[in-house]
């Protein structure tokens, strides 16, 4: 199919529908309003249901109800709204409910601003809500990639019975790019015998209990161990990364989301100056691709790495953990919403070279 010019939010919403998502619950917040707006028109056309909730709290709990009933369901929001959803995300993780949550990150803390930001990395990858749990986090760097991720996100959510987050900066949501909507990818729907679809005593299906409460220590141990075993499989099987010109590079840039695209432009600027620079771009932020990051940076040829983020330095901690002191890792970035330019990034590498 020919490529079509689409806004990121709308492309993500359409891709979710093509991935089999039929239910959406959300509360308005900039810069992601085009997702619920699109869903409100499209979902009824495909026999689904869009409902504007009274708050993000209610929205995530509606997701909990729908996911518990076996539906492919999603919600989306932006940073302050995602904070409100955290109790619900923790509860869904404990109740082993598959669902997809989109966060179009804006500048924080607090109400912050409505520009693109990457300040929610810690929240997304290090818990967010309370308790021992994880959500799988995908970070698209283009609209096309986001479109290609939606089917995967829903499939993986169902496979591991886990909430999945699409962590995008507001830019992805707001910019327009040519998109090929045929690239949504294969969709795999599966049976959900655990869902609350009705219980017939003596029937084949067990009684559904969608629950996150395990008051006895031993019972909670069983749940947490089961979750941890599953997380371990996810850590082995699901990390995704893009490496760009890393082989034999002198410096390695590390970035995710749209910032990684700016870094690619910086790589090309530096290439023209005869400086060999590569880029590692984690696509899953949890599970974090520690091994591949270490491999790229530990090479003989590499002098230093530079992590670039639109935050005060969050992913850089995982990069340093991956590298474990083998090579120096520097950081470039600011909290709020200032996205560095390719020239600034290239200049920083030149400075590191002169030092």
């Amino acid at each position: 199919m020919a490529k079509k010019l689409m806004k990121g939010c709308e492309a993500i919403a359409e891709a979710a529908i093509q991935a089999g998502c039929r239910y959406f619950f959300g509360y308005p917040i900039t810069p992601q309003n085009d997702i619920p707006e699109y869903m409100s028109l499209r979902l009824p056309q495909v026999g689904g249901c869009f409902l504007q909730a009274e708050s993000e709290l209610a929205a995530i709990n509606m997701v909990y109800g729908a996911a518990g009933a076996g539906a492919r369901v999603m919600t989306s929001s932006s940073s302050p709204g995602i904070s409100l959803k955290q109790e619900g995300i923790s509860t869904a993780a404990a109740a082993e409910l598959p669902c997809v949550v989109v966060n179009m990150m804006r500048g924080g803390p607090g109400l912050g601003n409505i520009q693109a930001s990457q300040g929610d990395y810690f929240q997304a990858t290090k818990g967010g809500g309370h308790g021992d749990y994880h959500v799988i986090v995908y970070a698209p760097s283009s609209i096309q990639e986001a479109v290609g991720m939606m089917a995967k996100a829903f499939d993986v959510a169902d496979e591991y019975r886990i909430p999945v987050m699409i962590l995008a900066d507001g830019l992805i949501g707001q910019m327009m790019e040519p998109v090929d909507m045929d690239q949504v990818g294969e969709v795999h729907l599966r049976e959900k015998p655990w869902a609350a679809t009705g219980y017939v005593p003596g029937g084949k299906k067990p009684r559904a209990v969608i629950n996150s409460l395990y008051i006895e220590t031993e019972d909670l141990d069983v749940l947490v161990s089961r979750l941890e075993a599953r997380y371990e499989v996810i850590r082995q099987k699901e990390p995704m990364i893009e490496t760009y010109k890393t082989e034999g590079a002198e410096y390695i840039l590390c970035a995710y989301g749209t910032v990684a695209r700016v870094c690619k432009a910086a790589v090309r600027i530096l290439e023209e100056k005869g400086v060999k620079v590569g880029l590692v771009r984690p696509i899953t932020l949890w599970p974090f691709p520690y091994d591949k990051v270490r491999e790229a940076i530990a090479q003989e040829s590499v002098k230093e790495a530079l992590t670039v983020e639109v935050s005060s330095g969050q992913m850089v901690e995982d990069i340093r953990l991956a590298v474990n002191g083998i090579k120096p890792v520097q950081f470039m970035g600011k909290g709020g919403s200032r996205i560095p330019s390719a020239e600034e990034i290239a200049e920083r590498i030149m400075e590191m070279r002169r030092a």
Binding site: Y23, C49, A53, S55, L57, G65, A66
Partner: protein, 215 residues
């Protein structure tokens, strides 16, 4: 009584319930149907999600007064406002039971609790909230009643109201709720018999029984 009604209406295989955070937290162990446990106050939102996916199934929430009338007021009011075809069983015992007897929005003026040790002072924290009356004013609600568990005739009326509430849901008329004045002898510091008397003497005069809305 809820289980009896579900049985009598023959909707057991298409019905699920939602337990709250509160003394009814383990309700999912007591009903032999599909059950959810919801986060504190959020049961009406969870019920909404369930009902939108399975509009021909039936769902009820079972909530205490802290759950429904304090932390979950937005969810219950908005579920009624949307006219969600769900049924809510609202247990008003004028106190937070599970956490050890703190003041609830429904605690009576002068009533002593662990966080109103001198008795609830209306200048300080207002007068108790009347949820049934409030929800009856909302156009999306279709059946709203208040009952009590203090006498045999009241028990019979309670069961009739619960049945009516489920019938309202089956007929897809809108939101239905039965508020039930219930004893909490442990946290009231009363014997079970005294607690039953207190419902009649103190609670019912402030929380009148009856049907507030029926469409």
């Amino acid at each position: 009584m809820v289980a009896e009604v579900i049985e009598e209406l023959g909707i057991r295989e298409k019905t699920a319930g939602i337990a709250p955070v509160g003394c009814a937290v383990f309700a999912y162990n007591y009903f032999d149907i599909d059950m959810y446990e919801a986060a504190h106050g959020r049961a009406p939102a969870v019920a909404t999600g369930y009902k939108r996916v399975q509009p021909d199934h039936y769902i009820f929430t079972y909530q205490g007064d802290g759950d429904l009338a304090s932390i979950g007021t937005a969810e219950i009011v908005q579920a009624a406002h949307r006219g969600e075809k769900i049924t809510t069983i609202f247990i008003n015992n004028a106190i937070y039971g599970m956490t050890g007897g703190q003041m609830a929005p429904t605690t009576l003026v002068g009533q002593k609790t662990t966080t109103s040790p001198l008795g609830r002072d209306k200048e300080h924290c207002g007068e108790p909230i009347r949820m049934a009356e409030m929800l009856a004013t909302i156009s999306g609600s279709a059946f709203i009643a208040r009952c009590a568990l203090n006498t045999t005739p009241n028990l019979i009326k309670t069961k009739q109201a619960i049945k009516k509430a489920f019938e309202t849901q089956i007929a897809r008329k809108g939101f239905s709720m039965v508020e039930i004045l219930s004893p909490c002898p442990t946290n009231w510091g009363k014997s079970p018999a005294e607690a039953m008397d207190w419902i009649g003497e103190a609670m019912i005069p402030y929380y009148p029984l009856g049907v507030f809305k029926e469409v």
